[in-house]
C-alpha cells in the first residue's frame, strides 16, 4: 500500500521532479557537525545538494517552505529489510562470499515502512546464524538504489552462530528446544546443558579457531579479491556480531589479532568498565539497539559510555522483526539515558554513514551529497515530532499529506 502511495506522490509532486532544480527553506537545517542553521535554504539540483546556506532563497527557483526541521535522511546500520528469509542460510557456517546485494527485494514494503520513519539508507546484513555470513550492502529505501555493493564482511561470534540446528523432521533428529531439553520420542528424556547443534563449530573456541584459520589462509594470498582476503588485508571492514561481554571481548581480541577494522554489532553491556577499554583499543565502531521499552538501563547506558570514550556509535533497525517507527525510539531512549543529543542524531546520520562506509555520498546536508533528507515537524529526537516528507535523491519519496489520502 505504501509503495503505491509513494509512487503516486512522486508523480504528482510539484517540485522535485528529476532534472529540476528546487530549493527548500526550513526553519532549521541540521548539519553534520551538529550545528543548526536557522531559516536555512537547501538547494537541490539533479538529485544532489548544490547549496546549503542561511537567509534568502533564490527567487528563480521553485521553493518549498517548511515550518520545521530538515535533517539528512536517517541511516540504519543494520537491518534485514526486504530480505528476511533470504538472509538466513543454514547450510554452511562460513559463507563469506555470499552477497546481501543479491538478497533483497527493492519494492518490498519493508522499505516503504522505513521511508515513512525517515530512514533513507540501510545496511543490509545476513542473519547472525553463521560465523561468516556474507558481504553487507548499503541500499536506499526508495528506488532500490545501491549505495555500496560491498560494505562489510559480516562475522558473528554470537551464540546463535554456534551449532545451529537446521529445522528437520522430528523423526530424524527429534527436537531440541531452546533450553536444550530433548523432546525426542523413545528413550528417557535427556536434559542437556546449553544448546546442542548439528553443525560445527559448536563452541566459541571452535568458531575462533576455524575463522582464524580462514583469515590466515586468505590473508596469505595477497592477490585474492575474495571478501575474506580483502578483510584480512584491511580493504574491507567487518561487521562483527557479539552480544554478551565475553563474546564482545572475544570478537575484539580476534579483530585485533587479525588487524580487522569495522564495527561491532550488539555489545549490550559495552559500558562495563572492564570491557570498554578493550573496545576502545580495537578502534571498532559499535552498532547498538534496537532498544525496546523495558530494556535494561545498563544496555541503554552503553551509548553514553561509548560516546564518552570516543567510539563511533550507530543504531540497528533489525527489521522486519522490529518496526522502523521504533528506530527513533531507540535513539530517544539513549538520549533519555544520558547520551548526548547532538551526538545521537549524528549516530543516526553522518556517523552511521561513516560506519557504513558511504559518508562520501549520504548522511549529511552538505554540498555535493545525495539529496536525501527528511522534513520533520520538530526535533527528530522528540518523539512527538512527525515525519512530514522524505526526499531521496532529490525526489519526494514519502509525504505525510499524500499517504493520508
Amino acid at each position: 500500500m505504501f509503495a503505491f502511495l509513494s509512487w503516486v506522490a512522486l508523480a504528482a509532486s510539484p517540485v522535485g521532479l528529476d532534472g529540476d532544480a528546487f530549493q527548500i527553506k526550513a526553519k532549521e537545517v541540521v548539519l553534520a557537525d551538529g550545528s543548526r542553521i536557522a531559516d536555512g535554504v537547501v538547494v537541490v539540483t539533479d538529485g544532489k545538494i548544490t547549496r546549503v546556506g542561511a537567509g534568502d532563497a533564490d527567487p528563480n527557483l521553485p521553493t518549498l517552505e517548511h515550518d520545521g526541521v530538515l535533517t539528512a535522511g536517517l541511516i540504519a546500520c543494520q537491518t534485514r529489510s526486504g530480505g528476511a528469509s533470504e538472509t538466513v542460510d543454514v547450510t554452511r557456517p562460513f559463507l563469506s562470499d555470499a552477497r546481501l546485494v543479491y538478497a533483497f527485494d527493492p519494492s518490498h514494503s519493508d522499505f516503504d515502512k522505513a521511508l515513512a520513519a525517515g530512514i533513507t539508507s540501510v545496511v543490509l546484513t545476513p542473519a547472525d546464524i553463521n560465523v561468516a555470513g556474507g558481504v553487507t550492502a548499503v541500499v536506499k529505501t526508495a528506488g532500490g538504489a545501491i549505495v555500496a555493493r560491498e560494505a562489510h564482511l559480516a562475522l558473528s561470534f554470537s551464540a546463535q552462530a554456534l551449532g545451529y540446528s537446521a529445522p528437520r523432521p522430528r523423526f530424524i533428529f527429534g527436537s531440541v528446544d531452546a533450553n536444550g531439553t530433548s523432546m525426542d520420542e523413545g528413550g528417557p528424556e535427556v536434559t542437556y546443558v546449553g544448546r546442542r547443534g548439528t553443525r560445527a563449530p559448536t563452541s566459541y573456541g571452535g568458531a575462533v579457531r576455524a575463522l582464524g584459520a580462514r583469515f590466515e589462509e586468505a590473508g596469505a594470498d595477497a592477490n585474492s579479491e575474495r571478501p575474506l582476503a580483502r578483510a584480512a588485508h584491511g580493504d574491507l571492514p567487518v561487521f562483527f556480531e557479539a552480544w554478551s561481554r565475553n563474546e564482545v571481548a572475544r570478537a575484539v581480541g580476534f579483530a585485533q589479532k587479525h588487524a580487522l577494522q569495522g564495527a561491532l554489532r550488539g555489545a549490550t553491556l559495552a559500558s562495563d568498565p572492564g570491557l570498554l577499554p578493550q573496545i576502545v583499543a580495537s578502534g571498532l565502531a559499535v552498532v547498538v539497539g534496537p532498544f525496546r521499552t523495558g530494556h535494561a538501563r545498563r544496555s541503554l547506558d552503553a551509548v553514553r559510555a561509548l560516546q564518552d570514550a570516543g567510539v563511533k556509535v550507530g543504531f540497528a533497525l533489525d527489521a522486519p522483526e522490529n518496526d522502523p517507527q521504533a528506530f527513533r525510539l531507540s535513539a530517544a531512549m539513549a538520549v533519555g539515558s544520558g547520551a548526548d543529543r547532538t551526538a545521537v542524531l549524528q549516530s543516526l546520520t553522518n556517523v552511521a554513514a561513516e560506519i557504513a562506509g558511504v559518508d562520501a555520498r549520504v548522511g549529511s546536508i552538505e554540498r555535493g551529497k545525495d539529496a536525501d533528507f527528511v522534513l520533520w515537524s520538530g526535533d527528530p529526537l522528540n518523539l512527538t515530532s512527525r515525519v512530514e516528507a522524505v526526499y531521496v535523491d532529490g525526489a519526494l519519496a514519502w509525504s505525510a499529506d499524500r499517504s493520508a489520502d
Binding site: L269, A296, R297, R298
Partner: protein, 477 residues
C-alpha cells in the same frame, strides 16, 4: 527400677487432642527412671555454662543440675558421660515434613487427616535426628497443600508412632504458596472458600437446630459414642474474628470431623503453620489469619526469599521458621551482580522471632545451621536459641524442652566438643532419661564416614535410605 505406671498411655493422649494442655505423652521405652549425666561442660541455654557439671534425671525430668560438687547423685543411678563431653539441650526441629510415608495429601483441604497415620518410625530421618542431636520434632504435612493434615510433635525414638508421641494432633498446616496445578489466585480462593464453607456449614447447623431438623442425623452420629461436657452440651463460639450466633445450641460432638479442626483454628485453639513460598505470600498468609482470627496462633514457615517481607512479619508479631537456606543468593536485575542476604540478620533487625530449620534437602542438620548463622554474623546466643528455645516456644513446649533446667524433660545431647564445631560429634543422646543413641553403636554413621556397608543390609550405600529398607523387606519375603 522399671517404670511401672504409665499414666498417659498413648490412647488416652489421643483423646486429649485439642486441649493443648501441658500433658506430655511420655516415652514408653524407658528402662530406668533415674539417670545421671556428667559433662566437662554443660551449656544449659538458661544462664552461664556449668563447668564439671552433673544433670540428674528422674522419671524423665531433670531434678537437679549444677556443678558436680554441688549436686547429690543418686547412688543407684546409671551414669552417662564424663569430663570430656559437652552437654547441650536437645535441638528442637520446629517444623519438618520428613519421616513421612508421603508428605502431601492429594486432597486440597484435608484438616480431618492426622499426620500420625503417615509417620514412619523407622525412617532414616528420625535416625539422623538422633545422630545430630535433635530430640524434639514437629512433624507437619508437606508444603504441597491448601490446608493439610493435623500434625504432631514427636521424639525421634521408638518403634511405634505411639511411643514417639510427644504431643498428638498438634498444629495444622496451610500453604499460601500455590499447590501444584494452582495459581496464587486459585490457592487463595481455595483457602478463603474453606473458611467460608465452615461458616455456612455452622450457620446451617444452627438453622436446622432452630427449625428442629436434622436431629435424626445427629442421633446417628452419636451412635456408640459417649459424649460429655461441651461435646454433648455445646458451647458459644469462641474466637475473635467472626462468630456464628447460636452455635451454643450445637453439641460440639455433632460437628462434622471435616470441619471441626477448622473451627478449632477460628476459635484460636490450634497453632497454624502457614507455608510461604515467597515474600509475595506473606501478606496473604497474614491477611487470612487476621480474617479468621488465628493470627495469634500463626507461625509462618518461610522460604529464604521471604526476608523481603520481614517488616510485615514483624508488624504482625508472628514467629517464623526459616525453611530455605540461611543466605539468599540472587542476581540483581538492574546491575546483574549477585547479591547475598543473610536472612537471620534481617529477621533479627526487624524484630522477628525465628527458628532455624534443616528441612531443605541440601542442608545439614540444626547444629550446622546454627554454626553457619554464627559464621555469617549472628550472635552465638541468638543462633543457639534459634535451634532450641525459640522452636520450643513456637511449639508451646518452652516449659518442657529447649534448655537444661530443673523440671524440664531430660533431653540431653553429649557432644565430643563444642556443639557448633565441625569436628565435634554427638556421642550420646538422652531423651527423657533414656540413653537412646550412642555413636559407638551407630553403624550407619560409620557407613557415612568410611562407606562400610552395615552388616545384614543390602543395597549400595549410594542408594536412597528408603531403598535400602525396602530391599530388606524384599529379602525377607
Amino acid at each position: 527400677m522399671k517404670r511401672t505406671l504409665n499414666l498417659t498411655v498413648p490412647l488416652l493422649a489421643a483423646f486429649t487432642l485439642a486441649s493443648a494442655g501441658a500433658t506430655i505423652a511420655s516415652a514408653g521405652s524407658a528402662t530406668d527412671d533415674k539417670l545421671v549425666v556428667e559433662a566437662g561442660k554443660i551449656i544449659t541455654q538458661a544462664g552461664d555454662p556449668i563447668e564439671d557439671g552433673v544433670i540428674v534425671i528422674e522419671n524423665g525430668r531433670i531434678v537437679a543440675i549444677g556443678k558436680a560438687d554441688d549436686v547429690e547423685k543418686p547412688w543407684d543411678a546409671p551414669v552417662v558421660g564424663g569430663p570430656d563431653f559437652v552437654a547441650f539441650p536437645g535441638f528442637v526441629e520446629a517444623h519438618t515434613s520428613n519421616g513421612l510415608d508421603r508428605a502431601n495429601e492429594n486432597l486440597d483441604v484435608a484438616p480431618f487427616l492426622d499426620i500420625k497415620d503417615s509417620i514412619d518410625p523407622v525412617a532414616f530421618y528420625f535416625e539422623d535426628c538422633l545422630r545430630y542431636g535433635v530430640t524434639t520434632v514437629n512433624v507437619q504435612h508437606g508444603a504441597n497443600c491448601v490446608i493439610g493434615a493435623q500434625g504432631m510433635i514427636v521424639r525421634p525414638t521408638g518403634m511405634t508412632v505411639d511411643a514417639m508421641t510427644v504431643r498428638p494432633s498438634f498444629g495444622l498446616k496451610m500453604s499460601t504458596g500455590p499447590k501444584q496445578g494452582k495459581s496464587r489466585a486459585t490457592q487463595m480462593q481455595a483457602l478463603r472458600d474453606a473458611f467460608n464453607e465452615l461458616r455456612m456449614y455452622l450457620a446451617e447447623l444452627v438453622e436446622e437446630e432452630r427449625d428442629e431438623r436434622g436431629h435424626a442425623e445427629r442421633e446417628a452420629l452419636f451412635q456408640g459414642r459417649e459424649l460429655e461436657g461441651e461435646e454433648a452440651e455445646g458451647r458459644e463460639m469462641g474466637g475473635t474474628a467472626w462468630k456464628v450466633d447460636g452455635l451454643e445450641l450445637i453439641p460440639r460432638g455433632a460437628i462434622d470431623e471435616k470441619q471441626a479442626p477448622l473451627l478449632d483454628i477460628v476459635e484460636g485453639k490450634r497453632t497454624c503453620f502457614v507455608q510461604c513460598a515467597g515474600a509475595v505470600d506473606v501478606p496473604h498468609a497474614l491477611e487470612l489469619a487476621r480474617q479468621n482470627g488465628f493470627l495469634a496462633r500463626t507461625v509462618l514457615v518461610i522460604s529464604t526469599d521471604c526476608w523481603r517481607a520481614a517488616d510485615r512479619i514483624a508488624e504482625a508479631g508472628v514467629p517464623v521458621i526459616l525453611e530455605g537456606g540461611l543466605v539468599d543468593v540472587r542476581r540483581n536485575p538492574v546491575t546483574g551482580e549477585e547479591e547475598e542476604t543473610f536472612v537471620p540478620e534481617v529477621l533479627a533487625a526487624a524484630g522477628v522471632r525465628f527458628a532455624l530449620s534443616s528441612e531443605n534437602p541440601a542442608q545439614r542438620s540444626l547444629w550446622y545451621q546454627a554454626a553457619m548463622a554464627v559464621g555469617h554474623g549472628l550472635a552465638r546466643d541468638a543462633a543457639l536459641d534459634a535451634v532450641t528455645r525459640v522452636p520450643a516456644e513456637i511449639l508451646g513446649l518452652a516449659h518442657e524442652v529447649g534448655s537444661l533446667e530443673v523440671g524440664k524433660l531430660g533431653n540431653v545431647v553429649l557432644f565430643s566438643g563444642d556443639p557448633l564445631s565441625v569436628t565435634s560429634w554427638v556421642e550420646h543422646v538422652v531423651v527423657e532419661g533414656d540413653e537412646v543413641y550412642s555413636r559407638a553403636d551407630d553403624v550407619r554413621n560409620k557407613q557415612l564416614l568410611d562407606g562400610t556397608q552395615p552388616q545384614g543390609t543390602t543395597g549400595g550405600v549410594a542408594e536412597q535410605p528408603g531403598d535400602a529398607s525396602k530391599s530388606d523387606e524384599e529379602e525377607g519375603k
